[in-house]
């Protein structure tokens, strides 16, 4: 076993608004030949920056402050930090390859898949045109794309996300690089696809003898796939070492907290089933189609569900399963082709757009970075629903009363009152999502549709928001429809579950039934795909985190 990559005392800074901020501060790492090193940490921890520093592609304004990045190849050692741009260009694609995060935007939309995969081969003058063409087809076949000849001629929009990520991996391994930097390679993909992509990366690594630097926010993925692990926080190295040793017995509190918050690893029992009562929210025979005539695509096909008052119902499924369409129909944002939706006594479809519907149901959307108007202060955003309502229906016009109500709403979501004067960009993702929740709750709705409301957040923040939602449910008697692709989150928060696939409900039941003894094969596949190594669960169970995140209220 020999060392391929040695990072010593690396520091990187970025310039933003005229000031330099340190993004990576004195990080030292080692990656052995043929092994996987996982860089884990929350957003802003500097893990992506380290990846970009190695390959010499720091964003504009980025600068290597100090340190060395040693790469030991067959011909001798190099310090990538001191290498001139030309020489680095020679290495890129040939010796070091990058698998980017988002397959949706990482392929040039006007070039064929074949041309994109051939790019590194052409740039490094690998062979004749014909040889390259054959190699591309081989590569596409190797990464598991069916009918590679045809795939090579297709354009990115004709492929699914998972297929695009396979094509990107094909391009990355085209020249059999010694080091593959995989920057969140599966974060934008569904769990079942994620598992297959990670398997593929593993296979290729063994086959080519390459090393992989796996950048991920998902501790479970790192635990399952990496030989060694480095935990980063705020640009500094918290701890590093052999994966099992680090995760079985973390020496730093931060690692322990990450471990405790990782929902995929939760082994707590799902919520206890409550006695069946008259459902408060009922959806019956819901059908929705996009497009018209022969092109019509049936996004939701005869789905029904019932949610008891004060409980949480989770809609689970992969992208394209129709879960968001159902949630939006329930929140009154569009009218389905057929079916009925009732919240208590209210007929949602008849009341579409009315004030009464706004009091009955509110929507919290996935991306807290997009759901707040960047030009309006937090106070204005949270108070806006009250300004929209007529006085007779609980609207508020008086400035002082409005400010008080906003302060109360912010307090409810555990934000300090002075946040009201700030702009969204001054807040973190978790704080923004709290603001979005406060805006939904200020008009005191009875039901809330949470559309992937914690998916864009870091695990510790995710855990805090889930705690907050549970507390609000207890205090205010709220009924949640929780839309998610993450079964671990379901285990944490749901009373009842509907599993969706291709617009149809394949399984419905209490969280306990569905998660412990899944009846449908698709549910089992979903459960199986969640990365959650047994050794880690066992280790966690025996240790009992001091953070108390294991017990679900």
């Amino acid at each position: 076993m020999s060392t391929l990559l040695t990072i010593d005392d690396l520091a990187v800074s970025y310039r933003a608004r005229g000031q330099r901020h340190t993004a990576v501060d004195g990080v030292s790492l080692e990656l052995q030949r043929g092994e996987v090193l996982a860089l884990v940490g929350e957003s802003g921890s500097g893990k992506t920056t380290i990846g970009h520093a190695i390959i010499g592609l720091l964003a504009a304004g980025g600068r290597l402050e100090r340190g060395s990045i040693g790469l030991r190849l067959a011909g001798g050692g190099l310090d990538l930090a001191k290498l001139p741009a030309r020489a680095l260009q020679e290495l890129r694609g040939a010796r070091i390859a990058l698998v980017p995060q988002d397959p949706g935007t990482s392929l040039n939309p006007v070039r064929t898949i074949g041309a994109s995969v051939a790019a590194p081969l052409r740039i490094h003058r690998w062979g004749t045109k014909e040889a390259i063409r054959r190699r591309v087809v081989d590569l596409l076949e190797r990464v598991g794309l069916d009918d590679p000849e045809r795939r090579a001629r297709q354009y990115p929009h004709e492929l699914s996300g998972g297929m695009r990520q396979r094509a990107l991996i094909a391009a990355a391994v085209a020249l059999e690089p010694a080091l593959i930097i995989a920057d969140e390679p599966t974060s934008a993909l569904d769990v079942t696809v994620q598992r297959r992509i990670l398997d593929l990366l593993d296979d290729l690594r063994t086959e080519l003898g390459s090393s992989v630097l796996l950048i991920t926010h998902d501790l479970a993925v790192a635990a399952e796939r990496a030989d060694s692990i480095a935990v980063l926080r705020g640009g500094r190295l918290e701890e590093a070492g052999e994966t099992r040793a680090v995760l079985r017995d973390p020496s730093r509190d931060y690692t322990a907290a990450l471990l405790a918050d990782a929902p995929a690893l939760t082994d707590a029992a799902p919520r206890q089933a409550r006695p069946a009562v008259e459902p408060f929210v009922t959806v019956e025979g819901l059908v929705h189609e996009y497009g018209k005539g022969a092109d019509a695509f049936r996004a939701v096909d005869d789905v029904g569900l019932g949610i008891a008052r004060g409980t949480t119902h989770a809609l689970v499924g992969e992208s394209g399963s129709g879960k968001t369409t159902i949630g939006r129909a329930l929140a009154g944002f569009h009218t389905p082709a057929a079916g009925s939706i009732r919240i208590g006594e209210l007929d949602v479809l008849a009341e579409r757009g009315s004030r009464r519907l706004r009091h009955a149901v509110q929507l919290v959307s996935q991306n807290p970075y997009a759901s707040l108007d960047p030009r309006r202060s937090i106070g204005q955003t949270v108070g806006e629903p009250l300004l929209n309502l007529p006085l007779a229906h609980g609207g508020v016009r008086d400035r002082r009363v409005l400010a008080e109500r906003v302060a109360t709403a912010l307090e409810q979501v555990a934000l300090p009152a002075e946040v009201a004067g700030r702009l969204p960009r001054e807040l973190s993702g978790g704080q923004r999502q709290r603001v979005a929740i406060a805006r939904a709750l200020i008009i005191e709705p009875q039901a809330v549709v949470l559309d992937e409301a914690v998916s864009a957040l870091d695990v510790t923040v995710q855990s805090q928001i889930l705690d907050l939602l549970e507390r609000l449910q207890r205090e205010l008697g709220l009924t949640y429809l929780f839309i998610t692709h993450d079964l671990a989150v379901v285990r944490r928060i749901a009373d009842t579950v509907t599993v969706l696939r291709g617009g149809r409900a394949v399984e419905t039941g209490t969280a306990q039934q569905v998660l412990s003894s899944p009846q449908h094969e698709y549910t089992r596949a979903l459960l199986h795909a969640v990365p959650s190594p047994d050794w880690l669960r066992d280790a966690r169970r025996s240790r009992r985190s001091p953070h108390g995140q294991l017990e679900v209220a």
Binding site: T49, A59, R358, D373, P374
Partner: protein
């Protein structure tokens, strides 16, 4: 923050460190525009010469200490005429931009926010405006309105309506699809309220940048109309007219066309530089 910035634009590491201060070119551009504006407001402060009366004895003098820009065929000081012309040219450009900005943005916002038949109808009208060459359209409008500085400016403004309308519509469409506009509707906002509170403030940045850009090209277009004789009647000092009147002397007295031409070029370039700064600041 840094991690997300790092994902945006992977570019090779360093750029020169001289970006903290406002760029020198921007300072220069603002200075040029300020001088031009001062000329327009108080031309008499900058020259003691009369822009309209000249002495035939002094005709066609090359640039000198007494006449920095030289004199024209009737002995009038060219610098004085350029300085006094600023008012006509700049106010014309301002009117032109205002017409395009107000009418174009109104059409664009209306089309982008209502959708359906109204959008189709409005945007087809815009297409028709775009299909006619700008100069021809401007000339047609002038023929309808009559000659004159203001009318020429309005004509130039009409030619830019289509560009403003299309940009405003695209911006409104972008903002309308955003999550926060949906959230605003979800919290019970009415159409007009959401339009006023969220859509307009977030879509006007690019439109204002275009207005600054259009200011430069309006000066050029008004000069063109002046050159063709559709703008201000002689002997009114106006930049386009100055160049037009001097075209007989290009061979013998090149300064008569070159120097006013350079002034126009400097002001147009400055307006463009400021426009790009506005665009960056609002992006």
């Amino acid at each position: 923050m840094s991690a997300s910035a790092a994902v945006l634009l992977p570019r090779s590491t360093e750029r020169p460190a001289a970006r903290r201060r406002p760029a020198l070119t921007l300072v220069l551009a603002i200075a040029v525009l300020a001088v031009a504006l001062a000329w327009a407001i108080a031309p008499w402060l900058f020259t003691s010469q009369d822009p309209l009366a000249g002495e035939a004895l002094n005709a066609l003098q090359p640039p000198s200490g007494a006449h920095p820009f030289g004199t024209d065929a009737t002995g009038r000081d060219l610098l004085a005429r350029v300085i006094f012309g600023a008012a006509n040219s700049l106010s014309g450009a301002a009117i032109a931009v205002l017409v395009g900005l107000v009418v174009g943005t109104a059409i664009g916002v209306l089309a982008g926010s209502t959708g359906g038949v109204a959008e189709e109808a409005l945007m087809r009208i815009v297409d028709v405006l775009l299909a006619i060459p700008g100069l021809l359209l401007a000339l047609s409008v002038i023929v309808l309105l009559g000659f004159g500085v203001t009318n020429a400016a309005i004509a130039v403004g009409v030619t830019s309506i289509a560009v403003f309308a299309r940009l405003a519509r695209s911006q409104v469409l972008r903002v309308r699809r955003s999550d926060y506009v949906e959230a605003a509707f979800g919290s019970g906002g009415s159409f007009l309220r959401v339009l006023w509170r969220h859509v307009l403030p977030n879509s006007l940045g690019a439109v204002l940048a275009l207005a600054a850009l259009q200011f430069g090209s309006a000066i050029l277009q008004i000069s063109t109309l002046g050159f063709l004789g559709y703008g201000a009647p002689p002997p009114t000092p106006e930049w386009g007219l100055l160049i037009a009147e001097s075209r007989d002397y290009v061979g013998s007295a090149a300064w008569l066309t070159t120097l006013p031409g350079l002034v126009v070029a400097a002001v147009v370039l400055s307006a463009n530089r400021v426009a790009s700064a506005v665009r960056k600041a609002t992006a």
